[in-house]
Amino acid sequence: MKGSSIDRVYVGNLNIAARRARDLLLGKLKLGEIVDWATTFSLWPVHLMTSCCGAEFAATWSPRFDAEQYGALPWVGPRQTNFIVIEGTVTRKMACALRITYEQMPNPKFVIAMGACALDGGLFYNSYNIVRPWEVVPVDIYIPGCPPPPEALARAILELRKKIREKNIASKWLIEGWRNDRDYVSPKEDVCRWWRP
């Protein structure tokens, strides 16, 4: 491809060159759609079991429902995964573990809140030991049910994929470095203050 666009990219300073190449590829040449498509096929959840909906989470990756066909493989460490499924009730002790795991994951990352307990407390709404998960981490998709059947969790993964591709979340994150489609959430009080070092 000849012309002045390449001359504008090839400059001596590597940082400026990288930024101009990124704007050219993602902005003009529509490489962003391929980035979004690739992200939707590699949504790997992290192994964090919060509560009893974990039994249906385990059943979704079992041979009958097989969520691995959507490209989702549960992986061991937060540094190599990009999404969290909050299954069920989040207690005060678990809120600390959830926030630490969420902060360790690389961007762009997503959260699905599964079950009635993750919506607004569920069956335990008047308990003294639980926390609403949308006050701790920002949530993308909510699934009602107690427990939601595995088909509902698979449907939620498909809705998340639709959301990523329609709103171009992954490519916009590459350009702007920030997720603009929803607010950033940080907990109002320190969830880990009971922790003794």
Binding site: R92, K93, N126, S127, Y128, N129, R193, W194
Partner: protein
Amino acid sequence: MVEALSLDNIINSIKLNLEGLVKSISISKGYIEVVVDASHIVEAALKLKSMGYDHVKSITTIDYPKESKIRVVYHASSYINEDLAKTIIGLTADIPRDNPVIDSLSQVWRSVEFQEREVYEFFGVIFREHPDLRPLLIIPELAEKKVLRKDFIVKEESIYEGIPHKY
């Protein structure tokens, strides 16, 4: 169900072994209730262990704010002795509500260790000479509020919501 004959045998042998310590003994639905004084509870537990009761299934604590006492029940049974395995003994003691201190039974029965930690964090009962008394299930900030007592109010969900209780 156990026949009445062997239940009476067990009650008689308990009265024989624990003479002087037992305040009252009665048969409830599913267990035999043996009430002793809180200061003699270690002696009574040792005598029950020598009879053959080797583990504790549960420590039940009930709060009676009207009578201003907390009742601690140790439900014990036996694995090795086959006759005693069919019955459950409830070793009961009452302690005052504003100063709930009682001797720990972890030297007698090792199975009570984790359950005594639970009773400590929910009711505020202090067990003397427990090897490791700290909260087990909830954070220390909540354990100071003594959550399972009757004066810690949780929003009610019954059809008589709003009508105050007569506790």
